[in-house]
């Protein structure tokens, strides 16, 4: 047996990620989500056929980390920009990577209409229930009672309005084929999230319609928690507002057990 086959690489840095150090805080979910997207693109062999749109928010610099073509969109407009790209390059995998403020506040109209047109685009929706980059202000997805710098006494329904469940809203539209909510809080959940992203990409490549994977993602810095406590908060509190699981699946794919 030669040396070449004696050692096989079984784990490494995904090719779809640049070997860069990110600016994300310790315990942040973005790094995990980036890696999952990159692993899926690698496994699909799609890195060189992918065009991505990062958000305005903490992941605004995602083009420094993802190793494929990317164009930055104005705040909230990622799915409009992605629509333009996909219509020019229908053969490419087009993804947006958006936070809750980008997707579900300032960009709500673009989100709903791209989904409703059934654009063959996949959205990776990072829901951390807070505005991260601007320093912890209330997000559209901030849960009731959750403290934010612009809701210092905690979110109250009468004063601030209720948290928005945009994934469930999008599921109503016939343009969407697959929407699943996962979390980034344990090996088990992270593996599940990867499967969901794979499925969404696959559905896009099969031309089925709009797909979205929502990832409940920890923000220890702005939640003012340790990374471990942040995971626990997602598992015990955040899932009450945003229950995990498949919200819609019209792909017709049979899940491998």
């Amino acid at each position: 047996m030669s040396a070449e086959v004696a050692y096989q690489k079984v784990f490494g840095y995904p090719e779809s990620l640049k070997p860069a150090q990110t600016h994300y805080c310790p315990g942040c979910g973005h790094s995990i989500a980036h890696r999952l997207v990159a692993e899926c693109l690698d496994e699909l062999g799609m890195r060189e056929k992918t065009i991505g749109v990062p958000p305005v928010g903490c992941a605004v610099l995602a083009y420094n980390y993802f190793n494929f073509d990317m164009v930055e969109a104005p705040h909230g407009r990622a799915l409009a920009v992605a629509t333009g790209i996909k219509r020019v390059h229908p053969d490419k995998l087009v993804l947006t990577y958006q936070g809750d403020g980008d997707l579900a506040a300032i960009g709500t109209a673009e989100t709903i209409h791209a989904a409703n047109r059934g654009e063959k685009i996949t959205t990776i929706f990072i829901n951390n229930a807070i505005y991260g980059m601007t320093g912890g202000q209330m997000a559209p997805t901030t849960t009731l009672g959750q403290v934010a710098t612009t809701a210092p006494g905690g979110r109250e329904p009468e004063r601030h309005g209720r948290p928005i469940d945009i994934s469930r809203m999008l599921a109503v539209s016939d343009g969407t084929v697959y929407i699943e909510r996962c979390s980034l809080t344990s090996v088990k959940n992270i593996r599940k999230a990867k499967k969901a992203i794979m499925k969404a990409f696959r559905a896009q490549l099969d031309g089925l319609g709009f797909t979205l994977v929502e990832l409940l993602s920890p923000c220890p810095t702005n939640w003012k928690m340790t990374p471990k406590a942040a995971w626990e908060w997602i598992d015990t509190e955040m899932v009450k507002t945003y229950p995990l699981g498949v919200i819609k699946d019209n792909t017709g794919y049979e899940d491998k057990k």
Binding site: V71, E72, A80, G84, I85, R87, H89, K92, E110
Partner: protein, 363 residues
């Protein structure tokens, strides 16, 4: 081959010219008085394998334009005044990202919703940058008809040559009026020069990123200086204007677009009455033909500015002419279209310096 002579509505002229200029992507949102343009392209683009999307808003449509431009396409959008205001965010981003596109504005009365009558009160919006940051938008102001068709071709070429959004500034009248037009040779999009910055998947090359965020101040300064060098080059090379009977003129009427066509009637009337009047008509509003106008403002000539607004372009005339010649201004806002006789009265008043119509500008 150029087309046969056709009788077409101005908005449709823009649409057909865009298709013939190689544009295959249009994203827009309805607003009066330019709806004929998206309506035309909604069937015309699919006919040539192109894409038309009626977006959910002006904001979404300019961002679809951004995506298509990043993907390498010749792409355009159109709207009218308040709709253009909504697109300014995207225009600023595309200026920063150095992405090409054409934005047509068929102006109406303002501010706010204003009205749907033809006006020309968006000169500042177009030439001074309605969006944020240090950038310029090359702005073409055809006088309608044949020139409208030709300027669409010029707009796409400028956009691609300089990697910048380009504004085509018409008005509601120009969009509605039917005029004869001969379209230039059609361009096959596949024959256009390859772009080395576009996103089409990074097969066989390093990934590309297109963005306007540059956090490091010295690096953003460099980027701003690079953009400025480009704007300086455009200002040097791309100035366009037209003149009518200026050689012996004692009074120069400065007007653009529809106003220039009204002024032309007034000038003929004045000539018939024995006054040597002529027209200086800027076609590029930015870059403004400053030097050319400045050189004409001599020998005791008077400069009479006529606008379908309360005085926006007149500021560029002041910057061009300074104290070299007396400047008079007559403007009608709100979508009211003066007759050639109104402009004739203004010119008589300017010649007599009697202040009866319009006013003399104190520089």
């Amino acid at each position: 081959m150029p087309s046969e002579k056709m009788l077409m509505r101005g908005s449709n002229v823009v649409g057909e010219a865009a298709v013939r200029a190689g544009c295959r992507y249009y994203f827009g949102y309805p607003i009066t008085p330019q709806n004929e343009l998206p309506e035309y392209l909604s069937w015309r683009l699919p006919e040539v394998g192109g894409t038309f999307i009626q977006a959910e808003s002006e904001i979404a449509s300019i961002n679809m334009v951004m995506g298509a431009a990043a993907a390498g396409a010749r792409v355009m959008t159109s709207s009218s005044s308040p709709g253009i205001a909504l697109k300014q965010e995207g225009i600023s981003y595309m200026a920063g990202q150095e992405l090409p596109c054409v934005v047509a504005n068929m102006m109406r009365g303002g501010p706010g919703l204003g009205n749907i009558a033809p006006s020309a009160a968006d000169y500042f919006q177009a030439t001074r940058g309605g969006g944020n940051g240090d950038y310029r938008t090359p702005t073409l102001a055809p006088a309608g008809g044949q020139e409208l068709a030709e300027m669409v071709f010029v707009a796409f070429d400028l956009a691609d040559t300089y990697r910048t959004p380009v504004m085509l500034l018409g008005d509601g009248l120009m969009g509605q009026v039917m005029e004869p037009v001969v379209f230039p040779d059609p361009i096959d999009p596949a024959s256009l020069p390859q772009k080395d910055y576009i996103l089409d998947g990074c097969e066989g090359r390093d990934p590309r990123a297109i963005y306007s965020l540059i956090l490091d101040p010295p690096a953003l300064m460099e980027h701003n200086l690079k953009l400025q060098a480009k704007y300086d080059l455009i200002a040097e090379k791309e100035v366009r204007y037209d003149t009518v009977e200026l050689d012996d003129a004692e009074i120069i009427v400065v007007a653009y677009g529809t106003a220039a066509r009204i002024a032309e009637e007034a000038v003929h009337e004045l000539r018939a009455q024995g006054h040597a009047a002529g027209i200086f008509r800027p076609i590029t509003l930015w870059p403004y033909p400053k030097q050319q106008l400045r050189e004409l403002a001599r020998d005791g000539r008077k400069v009479a500015v006529f606008e379908l607004s309360l005085g926006q372009m007149v500021e560029d005339v002041i910057l061009s002419v300074g104290e070299r010649a007396p400047i008079y201004f007559y403007g009608v806002p709100g979508g009211v279209i003066p007759t050639p006789a109104d402009v004739t009265d203004f010119l008589h008043s300017a010649l007599a310096d009697d202040g009866k119509v319009g006013r003399r500008i104190e520089v």
